[in-house]
């Protein structure tokens, strides 16, 4: 009887110590929520007032063509003068 009580007491103390040690553990420090990707620009902004005309939002090919054309007529002055 006395021996069983002693075993119980030892078990309770061991559990208490284990719980106490667990409190000393470090919190996980792994970065979460770091964006590794962004919404692709070809999806558009959904604000038609500021969107350049001539391409279809959501269509990557259309967006690519729009930017290439815009660079050509906006920056390539050799196409405008002989």
């Amino acid at each position: 009887m006395k021996r069983t009580a002693l075993r119980w007491a030892t078990g309770v103390i061991a559990l208490g110590l284990a719980a106490g040690l667990a409190a000393c553990g470090e919190k996980p420090q792994v970065l979460t929520g770091v964006p590794k990707s962004d919404t692709a620009p070809y999806t558009g902004t959904g604000v038609s007032a500021f969107t350049a005309p001539g391409w279809q939002a959501g269509d990557a090919t259309s967006w690519n063509s729009q930017l290439k054309a815009r660079a050509q007529y906006g920056m390539n002055d050799h196409t405008r003068s002989p």
Partner: protein, 202 residues
């Protein structure tokens, strides 16, 4: 997929600072923060050259390599962006960047260094495209509006070219052929890597 690049044609720049003004106006960048600036080499000496400097969105970006909180990311278009919610303002990126692109607002209490700010190639940040949150942190997202960076589109002499790498390289190549000189592309080798003998200088 387009790979976005800046090309600087030093033969054309007249140091008007239009690119700087366009950038500050478009993104409502605070006082003291210059995402783009014009640097003049040999100022006052005949033959001086002016260079408009901003983030070059490097292929192998040193800022990404040194950031201790990994706040940088690269989009599919090759634009190097960062998440201001993750940035701790340590300034490592500013020491690593060969172009001096990372900027830090100085209006904080006791001059404390705030979140890093830099050129986004007018591509915004991780927030929803065109959202108010994105604008307040990173400025306008012109790429998602089907436009090119404001600095290049506003450049009066078209010294600054921005857009798909193939297109802007082709425009620049045509200019060099037409005028017969000035094949050196400032910063190209540092930002994108250059094989020896290709004529680009860092």
């Amino acid at each position: 997929m387009a790979r976005m690049k800046f090309i600087w044609d030093e033969e054309r720049c007249m140091e008007c600072n239009g690119c700087v003004t366009a950038c500050k106006n478009e993104h409502e960048v605070p006082w003291g923060v210059n995402r783009r600036r014009v640097v003049t080499l040999n100022d006052g000496v005949p033959g001086e050259k002016s260079i408009s400097v901003a983030c070059m969105h490097c292929s192998d970006a040193p800022c990404m390599a040194v950031c201790p909180v990994n706040c940088f990311y690269r989009t599919d278009e090759g634009v190097v962006l960062h998440d201001k919610d993750v940035c701790i303002g340590c300034g490592y990126c500013s020491y690593a960047c060969p172009f001096g692109a990372p900027q830090f607002p100085s209006q904080g209490t006791f001059g404390v260094r705030g979140k890093m700010d830099k050129c986004t190639f007018c591509a915004g940040g991780p927030e929803a495209n065109g959202s108010q949150a994105e604008f307040e942190k990173y400025g306008r997202n012109r790429l998602a509006e089907g436009k090119l960076p404001a600095c290049a589109e506003m450049c009066s002499t078209k010294a600054l070219l921005a857009g798909d790498g193939d297109v802007v390289a082709d425009i620049f190549r045509n200019r060099v052929v037409q005028r017969g000189k000035g094949a050196e592309v400032w910063g190209w080798g540092t930002a994108y890597g250059t094989k020896a003998g290709e004529g680009a200088k860092s």
